[in-house]
């Protein structure tokens, strides 16, 4: 048994160096060279300033922007570090609501949000993704139905014809990969940037 001690120590250190340092550092170098923008987090700059990541959702509350899904992310309470407070789209602390199917808190929240959205657009069915929190709290996407649902509000806030907003939404829909994998979706940040570009013209 004693002769197993040396490999237990040396082999462990060698394999740690290979898999824990050489491998991630080499991959960082290679990935940075091959896919520089993606390796950094697909950041989007506007006028030289980082406005977000193409992959990370951000909070939109203004009527003139399309809104993303509700987010359940938290942040430490500034007044008491042992507690947390709601901080939607906190990209330094991802997470979901973890409310279960028979949760009263979830039932109340859903009812409140559905009622609010019905007031905003009584003519369309409320899309389920617009009232449910995502798993990460950072979902960058909404369903095409959720984007279409918001068209009247955005068009009114921007004094744009609904038809123009509708076209913009249509051109921002990403379909399934090869018509099969994933779900059709609209990236909210990309859509809002496109809206701002149109408005600036």
């Amino acid at each position: 048994m004693l002769r197993e001690i040396r490999p237990a120590i040396v082999l462990l250190l060698v394999l740690t160096a290979i898999t824990g340092l050489a491998y991630p550092l080499a991959m960082t170098g290679i990935a940075g060279a091959l896919f520089p923008a993606k390796a950094q987090g697909s950041l989007i700059e506007k006028d030289g300033k980082v406005v977000g990541s193409a992959l990370i959702g951000q909070e939109f509350k203004d009527d003139k922007y399309f809104h993303g899904r509700p987010s359940a992310t938290l942040a430490p309470d500034p007044n008491d570090s042992t507690k947390t407070v709601s901080a939607p789209y906190n990209a330094a602390n991802s997470g979901g609501s973890n409310l279960g199917p028979t949760s009263k808190a979830l039932a109340d929240r859903l009812k409140e949000d559905v009622d609010k959205l019905k007031g905003e657009n009584p003519n369309a069915a409320v899309p389920v993704d617009l009232v449910t929190t995502s798993a990460s709290g950072l979902d960058p996407d909404i369903s095409p139905e959720a984007a279409e649902f918001q068209i009247p509000r955005v068009a009114k806030a921007r004094n744009m014809p609904e038809e123009a907003v509708k076209q913009l939404v249509a051109s921002n829909i990403q379909g399934r990969l090869l018509g099969l994998l994933g779900e059709p979706r609209v990236n909210v940040l990309a859509l809002n940037l496109a809206l701002d570009r149109v408005a600036a013209k």
Partner: protein, 566 residues
């Protein structure tokens, strides 16, 4: 449920089956010590590693030595993770300035990673430095995966060999598994993941100013290199708190699909390694068929339940349970991922299992409680399944009144006792600790949901940790002294007290003579065998865990249909 949804599920199964044979062929060559196409590059490194660590690659080990070597290796791995976590504040690669991790959380996480569980009581981006992620977690992802695989290979050798006292050399097996199997696949996989948008940087967290003018701190890091091995090695510990639901940890539908494939890839291939080593590939296919039957049944239930939604949603005119799911994956890819990650002992999640419907969330729980033998954790699934096969063969032997045989080996009292011992570890830890937790105020205080769902959170936590899965009903506040320590004991016992009996079986089988099949040998490549093994698994699991499930998800489903909320 939709046609496109089912097509995605079928495509997944077809690709896994198609990859099983070529990868099984390659892995068999690796573990037989034969040359592979990577040998010109890797052989000098391999020889150098043996030289520096004093390993004689020609010398094989008795099963006891093999097991002791494995345990020693893990003691060292534990010390490295624990040390790095406690000292991360003063070590390099810490741009976010993370402080030292608390003692009980470091202990829990170190046990969690050496046991291939990767239970997340830590929140990656808010707790761990880049060095901890790389040296602490990424390296142990490799080594615990390699350990699982080589233990399965040692047990397979037990079946394949005759009249031999040794089962292989642990050091050689681990080195070859890491160099020839895990690393090459991970290099390609990492680059693919970055091409999909996964970050791989040592740079600082990004400060962004959103379109509405708010500040957003975006956590980044060396994500892709860790996620590659996290999935391939069925480890599942997330770089980020939200795991594979985080857009950086799973950016696209394609990255999601390939990640799902990578969970099953090596586990499925090991069934073919088994078939090749015992000299009949159909023996491997029969085992894969057992796994396939149980897998598809689970997928169908979860997909149906999630697509139907809950009474709360129905009352508001909504269908499809999207709470805790991402739009880019939708219902089907979230349901499929949940069943895969718990069938294997991966534990990565791309949706929050806590928010699944009662029945949709029950299937992941059952998958874990059956012992994660549906493909299973890399290696662990294979040796877990072989334990159930031994029991099934024993039952068949009782029915016809002959000494049971499997792939040329007589299965006798010692093997059956060891298999039972290993399998009984599961209920002991899962039901035992759950019972303790629900009568202690400190255990109850951690529940996030009231009613039966709160009990399911606790049951899931101990199932996941004992089964070395690592997924969670994440509402439960697991980062408390009570859950950190009891959870660590569940993970440790669930891993190592299963391994030791399995290795004892390997040693006993290797010493036995091989007997040729005769007229009275029960054929183990046909539908009857598959059905028998499925039956034994379901009866064992059903009798053991049904009462607990009745108190959790089943009563919750009935309460939901009656319109109750808690």
């Amino acid at each position: 449920m939709t046609v496109i949804g089912w097509l995605q599920i079928i495509l997944f199964c077809v690709i896994i089956v198609a990859l099983t044979k070529p990868l099984g062929w390659y892995m068999t060559r690796v573990f037989n010590g034969e040359r592979t196409f990577l040998s010109p590059v890797l052989r000098p490194i391999e020889a150098g590693i043996y030289w520096i660590s004093g390993v004689d690659e020609k010398r094989e080990q008795h099963w006891v030595t093999y097991t002791v070597a494995m345990l020693l290796f893990h003691v060292g791995g534990f010390l490295i993770i624990y040390g790095v976590m406690r000292l991360q504040a003063v070590l390099p690669f810490n741009p976010a300035g993370q402080g030292a991790v608390a003692e009980d959380l470091s202990f829990n996480t170190a046990i969690s990673f050496i046991t291939n569980t990767n239970w997340q009581n830590y929140g990656g981006e808010s707790t761990l430095s880049y060095l901890t992620q790389m040296v602490g977690l990424t390296h142990q992802n490799f080594l615990s995966a390699a350990t699982g695989i080589v233990l399965a290979v040692a047990l397979i050798r037990g079946f394949a060999r005759a009249s031999m006292r040794t089962v292989g050399n642990f050091w050689v097996d681990v080195t070859r598994c890491t160099l020839y199997v895990l690393l090459p696949i991970c290099v390609v996989f990492t680059l693919f993941l970055v091409s999909q948008g996964m970050p791989q940087t040592l740079g600082d967290y990004v400060e962004a100013t959103t379109l509405e003018g708010a500040k957003q701190t975006i956590a980044v890091g060396p994500v892709a290199s860790q996620v590659a091995i996290k999935m391939l090695g069925t480890n599942g510990g997330g770089f980020f708190n939200a795991n594979a639901a985080h857009p950086f940890e799973n950016p696209t539908a394609l990255s999601n699909f390939v990640q799902m494939l990578s969970i099953f890839l090596l586990g499925a291939a090991l069934t073919n390694v088994f078939g090749r080593m015992v000299g009949n590939q159909r023996q491997g296919w029969a085992i894969l068929a057992v796994m396939g039957v149980l897998f598809l049944a689970g997928v169908a239930v979860t997909y149906w339940a999630e697509a139907s939604g809950t009474s709360t949603l129905h009352a508001l005119g909504l269908t499809g349970n999207m709470e805790g799911k991402e739009v880019r994956f939708g219902i089907v890819a979230s349901s499929l991922f949940a069943v895969i990650t718990t069938a294997a002992s991966c534990g990565a999640v791309n949706a929050m299992h806590d928010s699944f419907t009662a029945l949709g969330g029950m299937i992941p729980l059952i998958n874990i409680e059956l012992g994660e033998i549906i493909v299973g954790g890399v290696g662990a699934g294979m040796y877990g399944m072989l334990l159930f096969v031994i029991l099934a063969i024993f039952v068949a032997g009782l029915m016809v009144g002959r000494t049971p045989e499997y792939v040329g080996k007589k299965i006798e009292a010692r093997e059956v006792k060891m298999a039972m011992l290993a399998i009984l570890i599961l209920p002991l830890m899962i039901l035992g600790w759950s019972a303790v937790a629900v009568v202690l105020p400190t255990g109850v205080a951690s529940m996030a949901n009231a009613g039966p769902h709160g009990f399911t959170e606790v049951l899931y936590a101990y199932s996941s940790q004992t089964g070395n899965n690592g997924s969670a009903f994440a509402g439960l506040t697991g980062n408390t002294l009570f859950y950190n320590l009891t959870g660590a004991s569940a993970m440790f016992v669930g891993r190592f007290l299963m391994i030791v009996p399995a290795m004892a079986i390997a040693g006993a089988l290797a010493e036995k003579k091989s007997i040729p099949p005769s007229m009275g040998t029960f054929p183990t490549t046909g539908g009857l065998f598959v059905g028998l093994v499925v039956g034994v698994i379901l009866i064992m699991g059903g009798l053991t865990f049904f009462p607990a499930l009745a108190l959790g998800p089943i009563v919750e489903h009935l309460a939901m249909n009656a319109g109750n909320v808690f």
